[in-house]
Amino acid sequence: MKKIEAIIQPFKMEPVKEALKNIGIDGMTITEVRGHGRQKGHKEVYRGQEYNVDLLPKIKVELVVTDARLNEILTALTTAARTGKIGDGKVFVYDVAEAIRIRNDDRGEAAL
C-alpha cells in the first residue's frame, strides 16, 4: 500500500476529484493548507502598511492506494492538477505499514 500526499492549487481540487472518480477512486481526505515552494507571494497594503504574503493557500489531498494502481492514479492526479506554471504543487508517495477499517476491522488492502 502507498500513501499519496499531493499539495495542489485550490482551484484544481474539483478537477482532481473528478479525475480520480473517473478511474474509480472516491476515498480521499482534503485539508486547506498554506505554503509555498518556488512560487513568489504578493504584496498587500493596509493604510500604507505593506505586508508581503508569501504563504499562499493550497489544498492538500491525501489518499492511500494499492501498489498495483499507484502509477495509474498518479498520472490521473498530476494530469488533472497541472497548469504548467510555477505554483502547481508537489506530490509525495509513502509506504504504508497497515490499514484498518474501523467499522469491521478489515485489514490491509481489504480496508482501502
Binding site: E44, V45, Y46, R47, G48, Q49, Y51
Partner: protein
C-alpha cells in the same frame, strides 16, 4: 402653509362672535405648536437612535474588523460597554455638567439625577421638543466620543483600565468641553453667550478633536503593541469594517442633521453637507492612494469616507453644498497622509488611526468652518437689532477663523492635559496594559474568557 391655514381659518371665523374667534385662534395656535413639536420630536428621536447606531454596530464593526482575530470581541466591547457605562454616568451627573448653566467651563448640578428634566422643553436649547428628547439625543454623542479613542489603544488595553479611563475621561475632558461649546454660558458657545463664539455644529472640537488628540496621547503613553511594526498585524476582516463604515455613514445623518434640533430646513442642509463631505473624502483618499501605491483600496475608500464625515461635522450646519464637497475632499487627502507618512515618520502605534482620522480630520474641519460658514445657510445669529450677522470668511467675517483656532487650541490643550492626568491615575489604580502573555493570547481570551470565532461548534 401655516399662513394660508390661518388666513382661511380667519375668514371663516369672521362671521362668528369675537369671543369664539379668540378661542378658535388660541386652539389653532396650540394645534400648530403641537404639530411642529410632533414633527421635530419624531425626527429627534430618530436621530438619537441613528447616533447610537454609529456606536453599537457602526464603530464596533469598523474597528473590530481592523484588529487581529484574537481581539475581535475585546474591540467590540470597547464600543458596546460605553452604551451602558456612559448612559448611567449621564443620568447621574453628565447631563447636568454639560447643559446646566454654571460657569463658562462646566455646568452646575441642577440636573443631577435628571431632576427637572421632563417632557417640558428647555427653550435655551430646543423649544419644540421635550427636554428628555434633547437629553437622550445628547447622551448618544457622549457615548460614541470615548469609543473613538479605543482605536489608539486597541489590542493591548486592560478592560478594567479602559473602564476607569472612560469614566474619568468623560468627567474631565468631554463634559467640560461639551459645556464650553454647547452649554448655556459656555466659554466657546456661539449662540448662548460665549466669550469666544466658536462654530461647532455637531462636534468637530467637542467630539473629534478631543477624542482624536486624546487617542494620540494614549498611543504614546501605552507604547506600541508587542511586535509592532515588524510582525504582521493585518486587519482580520475588512468585510466587518466595510459594514461598520456604511453604518457610520448612515448614522452620521442623525449626528449632523439631528444637530439642527428640529425637522427643519437647516436639518436638510446639514444632511446634504454631511453626505457630500463623505462622498468627496472617499474619492480624495483613494485618488491619492491610487497614485502613490498603484491600487485604490477598499480600506482606503471607507477610511476616507469616515475622515470626510469627521471634517464636515463642525461645518455641517453652516456651509453650502459645494464647500462641503471641498472640505470632504481635502479631509480625504490630509488624513491619508496622516495615517501613512506622518504615522510612519514618528513611529507611534495609533493602531486604528483614531488620531490620524479624528484628530486631524476634526482639526481641519473646525478651521475650515471658519472659512466657509455662511448666514445663507444658518441665519440664527442676529445682532441686538435683529439683523443677521456674517458668520465666516465667505461672509466677510475673517475674524471667525481666530475664534475657530481658539476653540481648536482649547480642545487640544484640554485633551492633552486631561488625558495625561487620567492615564497617570488609571496606571496607578488599575494598570493600563495587559501583560505580554495576555497580549499574545489576545484580549478576547485574556480579558473576557471567550473567543469570537469558533467554527467547530
Amino acid at each position: 402653509m401655516k399662513v394660508w391655514t390661518l388666513l382661511v381659518f380667519s375668514v371663516a371665523a369672521m362671521a362668528q362672535t369675537p369671543q369664539s374667534v379668540d378661542a378658535k385662534l388660541a386652539a389653532l395656535d396650540t394645534a400648530v405648536k403641537s404639530a411642529q413639536s410632533a414633527g421635530d420630536n419624531a425626527w429627534m428621536l430618530t436621530s438619537a437612535a441613528l447616533v447610537l447606531l454609529m456606536t453599537g454596530p457602526g464603530l464596533a464593526l469598523f474597528y473590530s474588523g481592523l484588529v487581529r482575530r484574537k481581539n475581535v470581541l475585546g474591540t467590540m466591547m470597547h464600543s458596546f460597554i460605553l452604551m451602558a457605562v456612559i448612559t448611567v454616568l449621564w443620568a447621574l451627573v453628565g447631563y447636568s455638567l454639560v447643559f446646566a448653566e454654571g460657569s463658562p467651563l462646566i455646568g452646575d448640578l441642577r440636573y443631577v439625577f435628571l431632576r427637572g428634566v421632563g417632557i417640558a422643553p428647555n427653550p435655551d436649547y430646543a423649544a419644540t421638543i421635550p427636554q428628555q428628547t434633547y437629553m437622550i439625543y445628547q447622551l448618544m454623542f457622549a457615548i460614541i466620543t470615548p469609543g473613538l479613542i479605543a482605536g489608539a489603544f486597541a489590542e493591548r488595553m486592560k478592560f478594567s483600565g479602559m473602564l476607569l479611563f472612560t469614566v474619568l475621561w468623560a468627567l474631565i475632558v468631554y463634559f467640560p468641553m461639551a459645556h464650553m461649546v454647547w452649554g448655556k454660558g459656555g466659554l466657546l458657545s456661539a449662540s448662548l453667550g460665549g466669550k469666544f463664539p466658536c462654530f461647532d455644529f455637531a462636534g468637530g472640537t467637542v467630539v473629534h478633536i478631543t477624542s482624536g488628540v486624546s487617542a494620540l496621547v494614549c498611543a504614546l503613553y501605552l507604547g506600541k503593541r508587542t511586535g509592532y511594526p515588524h510582525e504582521p498585524m493585518k486587519p482580520h476582516s475588512l468585510v466587518l469594517s466595510v459594514i461598520g463604515a456604511c453604518l457610520l455613514w448612515v448614522g452620521w445623518f442623525g449626528f449632523n442633521a439631528g444637530s439642527a434640533l428640529a425637522a427643519s430646513g437647516l436639518a436638510t442642509s446639514a444632511f446634504v453637507a454631511t453626505h457630500f463631505g463623505a462622498a468627496a473624502a472617499a474619492l480624495g483618499w483613494i485618488f491619492v492612494e491610487w497614485i502613490r501605491t498603484g491600487k485604490p483600496s477598499v480600506l482606503g475608500a471607507i477610511s476616507g469616507c469616515v475622515a470626510g464625515l469627521v471634517a464636515i461635522t463642525p461645518a455641517s450646519g453652516f456651509v453650502e453644498p459645494f464647500p462641503a464637497l471641498l472640505i470632504g475632499f481635502l479631509a480625504g487627502i490630509v488624513c491619508y497622509f496622516m495615517v501613512t507618512l506622518v504615522k510612519q515618520k514618528f513611529g507611534y502605534d495609533d493602531s486604528l488611526d483614531a488620531f490620524g482620522v479624528h484628530g486631524a480630520g476634526g482639526t481641519l474641519g473646525a478651521i475650515l468652518t471658519g472659512f466657509f460658514a455662511t448666514n445663507a445657510i444658518n441665519d440664527s445669529f442676529k445682532d441686538s437689532a435683529g439683523k443677521t450677522l456674517p458668520l465666516g470668511w465667505v461672509d466677510g467675517n475673517a475674524g471667525q477663523i481666530i475664534n475657530q483656532l481658539i476653540g481648536t487650541a482649547i480642545a487640544w490643550g484640554l485633551a492633552i492635559v486631561g488625558t495625561l492626568v487620567i492615564l497617570k491615575i488609571c496606571d496607578a489604580v488599575t494598570g493600563l496594559r495587559v501583560t505580554k502573555d495576555q497580549e499574545i493570547d489576545g484580549l478576547d481570551l485574556s480579558q473576557h474568557g471567550e473567543e469570537g470565532y469558533f467554527f467547530e461548534a
